[in-house]
């Protein structure tokens, strides 16, 4: 970096003052004392590094006005120009850094611009005066020291590197000191030691587990012993309680057993023997009574069934009698109904006879039944009736149609005649349609011909005189020839149409011929214009002749005397009159033609209708013949109509119905008579056989006989059924008698058997024995009750005698007291047992807790984690330590093997400045001092040097520093403030030469008040630039 110019807005004695541009390698500011050299140096330092925070004196307040500050224009190593502006303000002043394009930069960029040099470094190394050269102290700054002794190591800031690593290392563990709170390894270690202490407690778990296990075993034994004791006491207590419970039963048992042994015992006497005896005696009595009653009944029934049944023989005819009884009501009805039915039959016979007479002679019942009046026959008659009606109507209709056709035919003939008369009256037409059309075309063509003739003549009149040579006329000849040819064709066609029968075709051809001829003629004329005038004239002449020829033909055809436009107008009007007349005649002829066609159609209709009428008549005659034949086949009168036949059929039907009715009634009478006869045939033999009086002729007696027979039969049957029932009762009574006898015997046997059990045959004795047995049983029951109680309490093995002996004569109260004593012993044993159990449970819980506790596991895991952290920190610390050790090793080696570049450079400069009196300088390893080595090799501390030589040594060191700094960062300007005043001229000269060499890489600004110094710099550097500073007035 180099300074190009300065602008001081207000700084010390300077106000709005510009210095520069500084283009020379060395710029010398020469001025007397107080000229402002130191102020300029301070200005540069302030602008680059900021206003000092120290006393106001170092602020260089603007005495002569202007804003406190200014700017410096600097150029970096790349040639980029920056304006560094700073005015007084907080934090070193208000800074502005801009390049030539006006881009702003931050303070950090300015630091980079000055090679990250600190203000102190700049002041002590790059901008120095006589004071700084007096002693080494100004280079005591750590950074500068580091640069002197590590500069040239190939690194920027070895001391800083070492400091940083050392700081990081000490955060973990600081060598030589106690483990302090700020060292991370200490925190982890403390925590780890706490965990270890907690774990130590858990190490007692195992012995405690063993102790508890043994305790639990011991307690289990004690509890088992107590449990056994308790069981024994409980058993005794239970026995005592039982004794107390069954004491009375045991006493009572003894009494009852004594009573029982005193009573006689009938071992076979049955249980409830007396009650059973009474029951058996009662059964014996009942059986005897029942046997007697049944024997009486049997006797009575035997008596009854021994008598015969009345009317027994009647039973043989019971079926016939019941049949006659059933037919009795039918017989009654028949006898009662017969006379009325006979009367009805006779009346119906008379009706049939009357209806046959009404049908006419020859009708009897046989014919009546023979004639076919079925539905097909009736349909046939109805069809005949419809056919006759339809044919008759057809004949009438055809007749009407024929009369109407005759009238219309006559009317059509009349219309035809009237049309013919009107045609006659109109007369014949002068032209036909073709001739009219031809004339109309000819008149039109003639008009056009007249126009063209006029134009051709006008053309010929306008042509120049003949003799002018024109184009050849050969070209138009074919066109005119063609026109002429078409004109002739048109005329021919017109003639064909006019004379012959060419009709419309001829007219069209004629018009076409004329038209094409005219067109070709026009083309021929236009073509002719392009040819020579002479040729045109010839052509026009030919054209006129041709048109005249056409007009002549038209005149002939139209029959005109002369042909002009007036004649053509007249001819046209005549043609219109002829055309209208022709049109009128044409209309009349169409009417006549239509009337003739209508007349023909009417005649044809009349013929058709007449034929249809004849056909209808024939159909009607044929139908009549068929009908007559049908009547004859049925032996009916031929004159009878279809309606008559239908009437006849109706009467026949009625007569048939009456005949059928009459026959039915006759059959009914016959049936009634057969019934009476059949029933009489049944009853009469019975009555005769059984002696019932009857009169065959009187049907009423038959009825009475039936009633009599029926009554007798019922009586006989009733008596018979009674006898049968009595027989059954007898059988049953006999069986019952047998049963009762057996029961009676059984009761007797039971009684004997029962008495035998008591070894007696006397019922009274039996009853006495029974009473003794009841008493025995009662004692026995009581005894069993007591025994059951004892059994329930003591079980089946209980020894009653022993128990009774155990009780002795103790009262229930005495027994209760024994129970209470034993109860107390039991409770004491249980209490002790429960205490041991509780102790065992507590020990078990503790044992389980020891076995399942996670605390020890957690602590072990935590210890492992902390140990790992400790190792990790140790590893990290080791890395830093190794890094530091290796750095220091290398540094030592470097200092021993490689004198720092700073010292080397300084040494060389020092040797030159001293003119070889000193060999150079040396920096001993591990010491921050510089030693001058004389030519003879003597080493001198700085205190041993003269003032001038010492200044030269420090100047040399700064040379070395500047070189080193320039090599590793940037080349800052070197500002020297009267640094050589204490040097003799030769050494000053040598120093100036050294500065001139330095100026190759670093801009040099020299402040001096000594013209000889200026001169020496000028001699050392011919390009040096000199600024004369005027003395400033005293402020």
């Amino acid at each position: 970096m180099r300074i190009e110019s300065l602008y001081i807005d207000g700084f010390g004695h300077f106000a709005q003052h510009t210095f520069g541009p500084f283009e020379a390698p060395i710029t010398i500011f020469e001025g007397e004392n107080e000229a402002g050299k130191t102020t300029l140096l301070a200005f540069i330092r302030t602008i680059l590094f900021g206003f000092s925070s120290r006393g106001r004196d170092e602020h260089y307040s603007p005495i002569k006005g202007g804003r406190h500050g200014g700017h410096i224009v600097v150029v970096d190593d790349n040639g980029t120009r920056y304006t560094v502006e700073r005015y007084a303000g907080a934090s070193g002043g208000n800074l502005s850094v801009k390049d030539e394009s006006g881009n702003s930069y931050a303070e950090a960029d300015l630091k980079q611009l000055v090679g990250h040099s600190s203000k102190e470094l700049f002041e002590n190394v790059f901008a120095f005066g006589l004071d700084e050269l007096q002693e080494m102290k100004s280079l005591d700054n750590e950074e500068v020291q580091g640069r002197i002794y590590s500069a040239g190591l190939g690194v920027t800031d070895l001391p800083g590197v070492e400091r940083k690593i050392e700081a990081d290392r000490e955060k973990i563990y600081r060598l030589g000191g106690n483990l302090g709170r700020n060292q991370s390894i200490s925190e982890v270690l403390s925590e780890l030691e706490e965990v270890e202490a907690s774990l130590a407690v858990h190490h007692k778990d195992a012995p405690r587990y063993a102790e508890l296990t043994n305790q639990i075993v011991r307690l289990a034994d004690d509890i088992a012993g107590l449990e056994e004791t308790r069981t024994e006491i409980y058993r005794a207590l239970d026995h005592q309680r039982n004794l107390r419970t069954v004491r009375d039963d045991l006493v009572e048992t003894g009494i009852l057993e004594a009573k029982l042994s005193a009573l006689p015992l009938s071992p076979n006497f049955p249980q409830d023997g007396v009650a059973r005896l009474e029951t058996v005696l009662e059964q014996v009595a009942k059986s005897e009574e029942a046997t007697q009653q049944t024997a009486d009944t049997v006797e009575k029934l035997k008596e009854v069934v021994s008598h015969p049944v009345t009317g027994e023989d009647l039973l043989q005819d019971a079926a016939d009698i019941r049949k006659a009884t059933l037919e009795k009501s039918r017989l009654d009805a028949a006898v009662k109904d017969l006379p009325e039915r006979i009367g009805e039959a006779n009346q119906q016979t008379a009706e049939v006879d009357r209806l046959l007479k009404e049908l006419g002679p020859g009708w009897d019942s046989t014919r009546l039944e023979a004639i076919d009046i079925s539905l097909p026959a009736r349909d046939k008659v109805n069809q005949e009736k419809e056919l006759t009606t339809r044919l008759r109507q057809a004949v009438t209709t055809r007749q009407g149609e024929r009369e109407s056709a005759e009238k219309e035919s006559a009317s059509a003939d009349e219309a035809t005649k009237q049309a013919a008369a009107e045609i006659e009256q109109a007369g014949p037409s002068e032209y036909d349609e073709a001739a009219l059309t031809t004339c109309r075309g000819t008149i039109s063509a003639a008009r056009q011909g007249l126009v063209r003739l006029s134009e051709a003549r006008q053309l010929r009149a306008n042509l120049p005189p003949s003799g002018t040579r024109g184009a050849s006329g050969l070209g138009k000849l074919p066109l005119f020839a063609a026109a002429l040819l078409f004109a002739i064709l048109g005329i021919g066609s017109a003639i064909w149409g006019f004379i012959g029968n060419g009709g419309v075709a001829a007219v069209v051809l004629a018009a076409l011929g004329f038209g094409i001829g005219i067109v070709l003629a026009i083309f021929a004329l236009r073509a002719g214009r392009s040819r020579g005038i002479s040729s045109q004239r010839g052509d026009t002449g030919s054209q006129i002749a041709s048109i005249e020829q056409e007009l002549s033909a038209a005149k002939t055809m139209l029959g005109l005397d002369s042909l002009d436009f007036a004649a053509l107008e007249i001819a046209g009007r005549e043609l219109e009159v002829s055309t209208r007349k022709w049109t009128e005649i044409q209309g009349l002829q169409r009417i006549h033609h239509d009337a003739m066609q209508e007349s023909d159609r009417r005649k044809l209709d009349l013929e058709r209708v007449t034929k249809a009428f004849d056909n209808s008549e024939e159909d009607r005659a044929a139908a009549q013949d068929t009908w007559t034949k049908w009547l004859r086949e049925r032996d009916l009168v031929e004159s009878i109509s279809a309606d008559g036949v239908l009437e006849l059929f109706s009467r026949v039907d009625s007569a048939r119905s009456s005949l059928s009715n009459q026959r039915g009634r006759q059959q009914r009478v016959s049936a009634i008579e057969r019934d009476i006869e059949e029933i009489s045939g049944l009853v009469v033999p019975l009555a005769t056989k059984l002696g019932v009086s009857i009169d065959i002729e009187r049907s009423t007696t038959i009825t009475s006989a039936i009633d009599e027979l029926s009554h007798r039969l019922e009586e006989a049957q009733g008596e018979f059924r009674q006898r049968e029932a009595e027989q059954v009762s007898l059988t049953e009574a006999e069986e019952r008698l047998d049963l009762e006898r057996r029961r009676s015997q059984k009761a007797e046997d039971d009684l004997k058997e029962l008495l035998l059990l008591a070894d007696t045959d006397d019922t009274e004795e039996f009853r006495r024995i029974g009473a003794v047995q009841d008493e025995y049983q009662e004692y026995q029951n009581k005894l069993e009750g007591h025994k059951t109680t004892i059994l329930r309490v003591f079980g089946s093995e209980a020894n009653h005698e022993g128990l009774r002996a155990e009780i002795g004569d103790r009262s229930p109260i005495a027994l209760g007291e024994s129970v209470q004593e034993t109860q107390q012993s039991l409770e004491e044993a249980e209490l002790k047992r429960d205490e041991l159990r509780e102790e065992s449970v507590l020990a078990g819980n503790e044992l389980e807790a020891l076995g399942t506790s996670d605390e020890a596991s957690d602590l072990i895991a935590k210890r492992e984690t902390l140990v790992e952290e400790l190792r990790e920190l140790g590893t990290q610390w080791s890395k830093y330590s190794l890094a530091l050790m290796m750095l220091r090793k290398a540094r030592k080696h470097h200092e021993e093997e490689r004198q720092p570049q700073v010292i080397q450079t300084a040494s060389e400069f020092f040797k030159n400045v001293t003119g070889g009196r000193y060999r150079g300088l040396r920096s001993p390893v591990g010491e921050s001092v510089i030693i001058a080595v004389t030519e003879a090799g003597e080493e001198k501390q700085h205190s041993q040097l003269s003032r001038g030589t010492r200044e030269q040594m420090y100047l040399s060191v700064r040379f070395g520093l500047v070189r080193e700094f320039s090599q590793h960062t940037t080349s800052l300007p070197v500002i020297v403030d009267d640094a050589l005043v204490n040097s003799d001229p030769r050494r000053a000269r040598a120093a100036a030469e050294g500065f001139a060499k330095l100026a190759d890489t670093n801009q040099v600004l020299v402040f001096t008040c000594h013209p000889e110094i200026t001169q020496q710099f000028q001699e050392a550097c011919a390009d040096a630039q000199i600024y004369k500073l005027e003395s400033l007035p005293e402020s």
């Binding site: 190939g154 920027t156 030589g176 483990l179 399942t852 506790s853 596991s857 140990v867 190794l882 050790m885």
Partner: protein, 426 residues
């Protein structure tokens, strides 16, 4: 001969803490603390569900150093569950649970065959003349340094299928202490069809002339290096006497490592997406179990500065754990370690004749020559031999490879501070 089935487990280390784990939330701590017990419960469930003849436990049921009473009680509770299901148990003890470490009050089930300090035997299935015979040996004390396999050879009965139950270091596994050392050849000479081994925590099988020797590994990984599935072997001695075996995972918590090389990434978004992706894969591998994992960054690259920022590792751990550690099953990021290097050319730096070059050469010399490290260790001893710390740290004074790794880290610290990328370019 009928077929026989048994489960072979080893190194239960019941109630032993997870090693090398930093502080975790109480919920996760609880899961981790119970995990060895839960894994053992899963072994018992497996035995019952598979209706095996027996469970064989090849030592290190618990860590005697932890003096855990609960571990011993829970162990015998599990064996009693087996007994109630008619399943025998065979237990031998190893260096972590020698016979003298067991509390005398802890009573084993009656039908449990608990081997003593001399090799003895018992039938796998009682009252079965064809039953294979299980031979076993328990460490009387922790220090059993002699080969005990010849003792087996001495008593093995010919003509019956033999199973050996032993806690031993076979083939001088350097990852484990050399207790009851023996060789594979030693095992092959005995005529045992299946050696049910314990001691080595990683699953391992050796083929022998007559069968196999198998380390099932521990039942629950308890350290960052114990990654992957942990469990037991379900073994079948078939009718023809052949051995069929299948591994069954019983662990509750899986350990995983997520390693990301920063040299593959230019920006943090892609880099962190890769971390998430790797985590997703680790979750898939954990197969529905809880997951504890470590994230490690290595390599050189532009992200070196960012990932080495003093707060980055903590923030990443927090983000990952905020996302995953509260779920069930959880995925807990134990730590984020960084061994990345600045994106600078060390080979170039070491050629420089300046301080940095000197420094790197010193580092190389220290790494290459152990003799040079004495002064370094002297510099570290004040911490490791501190009177209050040495109890925990004296065994961890870095040596050998560990010291070399630390020197790498120290070099990285120096270079980060000494050499900026700009100066490197200069």
């Amino acid at each position: 001969m009928p077929s026989y089935r048994f489960v072979h487990a080893a190194d239960l280390h019941l109630d032993s803490p997870f090693k090398g784990l930093k502080r975790v939330s109480p919920r996760i701590a609880e899961v981790l603390r119970k995990s060895t017990f839960d894994a053992f419960d899963a072994v018992i469930d497996l035995c019952i569900n598979e209706q095996v003849d027996a469970l064989l436990v090849a030592g290190d049921v618990f860590d005697s150093a932890d003096r855990s009473l609960g571990a011993q009680l829970r162990f015998v509770d599990g064996l009693k569950r087996l007994e109630s299901s008619g399943i025998r148990s065979f237990v031998c003890h190893g260096n972590h649970d020698p016979l003298d470490a067991w509390h005398s009050q802890v009573s084993f089930p009656d039908d449990c065959c608990r081997f003593g300090p001399a090799v003895t035997s018992s039938e796998l299935r009682l009252d079965d003349p064809d039953s294979p015979i299980v031979y076993g040996y328990s460490y009387p004390t922790r220090e059993v340094r002699e080969n005990v396999v010849p003792e087996f050879e001495r008593i093995v009965q010919p003509g019956r299928i033999a199973i050996g139950l032993l806690h031993a270091n076979v083939g001088a596994d350097t990852g484990h202490e050399s207790y009851a050392p023996c060789t594979v050849d030693d095992l092959g000479k005995v005529g045992i069809r299946y050696w049910a081994l314990g001691h080595v925590h990683t699953r391992q099988e050796f083929s022998l002339p007559e069968g196999f020797a198998v380390y099932p590994g521990n039942t629950q990984g308890r350290h960052a290096n114990e990654t992957g599935a942990r469990g037991v072997y379900l073994v079948t001695i078939t009718e023809n006497g052949s051995v069929e075996r299948s591994f069954r995972a019983v662990d509750l918590v899986r350990w995983e490592h997520i390693d990301v090389d920063i040299s593959d990434y230019e920006d943090m978004d892609a880099f962190e997406r890769e971390i998430d992706h790797q985590l997703g894969l680790a979750l898939e591998r954990s197969d529905g179990r809880h997951l504890v994992y470590r994230v490690h960054f290595s390599g050189r690259g532009p992200l070196h500065g960012l990932v080495n920022h003093q707060e980055y590792a903590g923030e990443l751990s927090k983000r990952l754990n905020d996302d995953w550690s509260e779920r069930s099953p959880f995925a807990y990021c134990d730590r984020v370690t960084v061994s990345t290097r600045q994106d600078i050319d060390r080979d170039d730096l070491i050629k420089r004749e300046d301080f940095v070059g000197d420094l790197l050469r010193f580092f190389d010399r220290s790494r290459d020559n152990d003799g040079d490290t004495e002064d370094l260790l002297d510099g570290l001893k004040p911490l490791y031999e501190h009177r209050r710390l040495r109890k925990y740290l004296s065994d961890y004074l870095p040596k050998g490879t560990e010291l070399t790794t630390m020197l790498d880290e120290a070099e990285s610290i120096c270079l980060d501070l000494l050499v900026t990328e700009e100066s490197d370019e200069n």
